[in-house]
C-alpha cells in the first residue's frame, strides 16, 4: 500500500519537472511536448535493464489482501461457509459433504478477495471524489475554472496562471500515479509492454469525454461505462452473430465471413458506442453544471 503513495509522489515529481519545461507552451504544442517527453521516459526505461528490469515482466507482486489459497486452508472461513450452507449440507453423506464444502470454500474465498479489493478501491475512489468535489466548490476551484474559461481575465485579476497550471498538472499526475499503482496491485503483475497508448491514453480520455468532462461524477460514471463496454463488447459481438445465425440459412457465406472475424467486432462496437454518445450528448452523459458564482 505504501507503493500507492510512492507511485503518486513519483508521478507528481515527474510532472513537476515536465511542467516546468513545457507549461509555457499552449494547447497543441503542450500536448505534443508532453507526449514527446513521455516517449523519452518510456524509451529510457525500456533500454535500461538494471533499472526496474527494463522490458521484462515482473511476476508475483505482493498484494494487500489475503491469497485465496491461504484462505481456503484457513479454519475460520471453512467454519463460516459450513455454517452458511448447514441446511443443505446436513442431508449429504460424509464424502459428498467434504466435496461440496470444498467447492463452497473455494468460491467464498474468491468472493471475499474480490470484495476486499472493491472495498479498498471504493474507499480510495470515494475519498478522491469527495476531495475533488470539495476542491471544485472552494475558492480554489473557482479560480481554476476562471483560468480555464478566460486566462487573460484571470491573469488581469492578479492570478498567477503558470503557477496554477503547474499545480493542477502535478495534482492530476499524482492521482494518475496512484491509480496506476492500484492497477498494478490488482493485476498482481507488471508488464511494461502492455501499457499502450490505445488502452491507457485513449481509453481513459474517452471515459472522461463520455462521462462528461468538467463533472467529477461524470468522469467516474464514464469510467464504469467504458470499462463495461471494453469488457463486454467481445461477448456482445459473439451474441449478435449468434442471433444473426438464427435468421439466415445454413452455409450463408457472408455470415461465415463475419463469424471468422467475430472478435474484431469488439473494436467496431467500441467505436460505434462512442460515436452514438458523442452524437446525442456532446457534453457527455453528465455535463458540467454551470453554477452562478
Amino acid at each position: 500500500m505504501l507503493s500507492w503513495i510512492v507511485g503518486g509522489l513519483a508521478a507528481a515529481g515527474a510532472a513537476w519537472w515536465i511542467g516546468k519545461i513545457t507549461l509555457s507552451l499552449r494547447s497543441d504544442y503542450l500536448a505534443i511536448a508532453t507526449l514527446g517527453i513521455s516517449e523519452i521516459i518510456i524509451y529510457v526505461i525500456k533500454n535500461e535493464d538494471w533499472f526496474v528490469r527494463g522490458l521484462k515482466n515482473v511476476y508475483g507482486l505482493q498484494r494487500p489482501v489475503p491469497y485465496e489459497v491461504d484462505m481456503q486452508k484457513s479454519e475460520w472461513l471453512q467454519n463460516i461457509v459450513a455454517w452458511i450452507h448447514k441446511s443443505e449440507l446436513q442431508f449429504l453423506s460424509q464424502s459428498e459433504q467434504i466435496d461440496k464444502l470444498g467447492d463452497y470454500v473455494r468460491e467464498a474465498s474468491v468472493v471475499f478477495v474480490k470484495l476486499s479489493y472493491s472495498g479498498l478501491f471504493l474507499v480510495i475512489l470515494v475519498a478522491f471524489i469527495v476531495l475533488s468535489n470539495l476542491a471544485l466548490n472552494s475558492p480554489w476551484g473557482r479560480k481554476v475554472r476562471a483560468i480555464r474559461d478566460n486566462e487573460v481575465a484571470a491573469s488581469a485579476m492578479g492570478k498567477n496562471i503558470t503557477r496554477q497550471h503547474l499545480q493542477i498538472f502535478v495534482i492530476g499526475s499524482a492521482i494518475v500515479g496512484i491509480a496506476g499503482a492500484l492497477l498494478v496491485t490488482y493485476d498482481g503483475i507488471f508488464i511494461p509492454t502492455a501499457y499502450q497508448p490505445l488502452r491507457f491514453t485513449f481509453l481513459i480520455w474517452v471515459m472522461v469525454i463520455v462521462g462528461g468532462s468538467g463533472n467529477n461524477l461524470g468522469s467516474v460514471l464514464g469510467a464504469f461505462i467504458m470499462w463495461f463496454i471494453w469488457i463486454q463488447s467481445g461477448p456482445i459481438g459473439l451474441w449478435v452473430v449468434e442471433m444473426l445465425g438464427n435468421y439466415v440459412q445454413e452455409g450463408n457465406t457472408s455470415l461465415e465471413f463475419i463469424e471468422d472475424r467475430v472478435h474484431y467486432l469488439r473494436l467496431i462496437f467500441m467505436g460505434s458506442i462512442m460515436l452514438l454518445i458523442m452524437r446525442f450528448s456532446p457534453g457527455g452523459i453528465l455535463p458540467e453544471k454551470n453554477k452562478e458564482l
Partner: protein, 274 residues
C-alpha cells in the same frame, strides 16, 4: 455492497448447481484474438476446435458433448484477460481453459483466476521462463517450450548449420528480450559471435534504420526473435529491400502465414524453430 454480495453468492450457487450434471462439458478458449498475436491465433484456435470436433464426432467422450466458449484476452491486457477468464468460470461454467496466449496475461490469469478457482488451463504460446517457477498450484500447463529451452536449442541448430556469426534483433518486449538473452548466452557459449544485438519496436512504419544498424556488424545472418505480425515482418522487408542479410534465424513468434508467404517469395535460406 450487500447487493453485490448477494448477486455474487447467487451466481456462485447457480454455477455450482449446474456443474453437478455432466451432460455437457464446456471448455473456455481464452485467446488474444485481437492484439499482437492475432495472425497466429487462427491456427491455434483452429487446432483446439479441430480436437473438440473430433472428440465430439467420435462419440467416445464419456461426459457428453464438449462445447467451446471463446473469449478475447487482447493478449497484452491482463485486466481484460482476468475479466474474461472469470466470466468463463462464473457465467459459462467452464471446466478448463485453453489459453491465454501472451506470457504476461498468462501469469496474471494464473495468480488471479486459475489458482483461486481451481481451474486447469493449458496455454499454446506462453513461453516465458518465469512461468516455470510461478506459484501455479499445478493448475497451469503449456505446450510451447520455455524460452530458457528454446534459446539453447535454436543456438545449437544455428551452430550445426555453420552460422557462426550473426546479428540479433529482438522485439522490445518481455518475450523478445528474454528469448534473445537465452539465445545469445547459449550461442556465445558454443563459440558463436554476435556482431550486433539490438531491440526493435513493433508497429513501426519503416525498419530500414534498424536494419542498417544491425548490418553494420558485417554479418550476413540475422536472427529475428520477435512477432511475425508486426516488427519481424518489417525487419525482413527492410532487409530484403536493401539486401543487408541473406540468411535468417527465426524464433517461434515468427511462424505465421505472413512470414512463410513473404519468405517463399523473397528468401531462400531460412529456417524456423518451434
Amino acid at each position: 455492497m450487500k447487493g453485490y454480495l448477494k448477486t455474487t453468492a447467487g451466481f456462485v450457487l447457480s454455477a455450482t448447481m449446474a456443474s453437478v450434471s455432466h451432460a455437457d462439458v464446456t471448455i473456455g478458449e481464452l485467446q488474444g484474438f485481437t492484439g499482437p498475436l492475432e495472425s497466429m491465433i487462427g491456427a491455434m484456435s483452429g487446432g483446439a476446435n479441430l480436437a473438440v470436433t473430433e472428440a465430439n464426432a467420435s462419440g467416445n467422450y464419456l461426459q457428453g458433448t464438449i462445447n467451446v466458449v471463446q473469449g478475447d484476452s487482447v493478449c497484452i491486457d491482463p485486466a481484460v484477460a482476468i475479466a474474461q477468464a472469470e466470466k468463463m468460470i462464473n457465467d459459462d461454467n467452464v471446466m478448463a481453459i485453453m489459453g491465454p496466449n501472451c506470457s504476461g496475461n498468462t501469469g496474471a490469469v494464473i495468480t488471479n483466476v486459475l489458482v483461486p478457482n481451481g481451474i486447469v488451463s493449458i496455454s499454446p504460446s506462453a513461453t516465458s521462463p518465469a512461468l516455470t517457477t510461478l506459484e501455479d498450484g499445478g493448475w497451469f500447463f503449456r505446450t510451447a517450450p520455455s524460452d530458457a529451452r528454446q534459446g539453447p536449442v535454436l543456438a545449437s541448430i544455428a551452430m550445426s548449420r555453420g552460422q557462426t556469426d550473426m546479428a540479433v534483433t529482438h522485439s522490445n518486449s518481455d518475450y523478445g528480450k528474454g528469448l534473445a538473452d537465452a539465445f545469445v548466452t547459449a550461442y556465445e557459449a558454443m563459440g558463436g559471435t554476435v556482431t550486433v544485438m539490438a531491440g526493435h519496436d513493433d508497429d513501426k512504419a519503416d525498419y530500414s534504420a534498424d536494419v542498417a544498424a544491425l548490418s553494420a556488424g558485417g554479418s550476413a545472418t540475422l536472427a529475428i526473435l520477435g512477432y511475425a505480425d508486426t516488427g519481424g515482418r518489417g525487419i525482413i522487408a527492410a532487409s530484403e529491400d536493401t539486401g543487408a542479410f541473406s540468411d535468417y534465424v527465426f524464433g517461434d513468434g515468427m511462424i505465421s502465414a505472413v512470414t512463410s508467404g513473404c519468405c517463399c517469395r523473397w528468401i531462400m535460406g531460412y529456417f524456423t524453430f518451434s
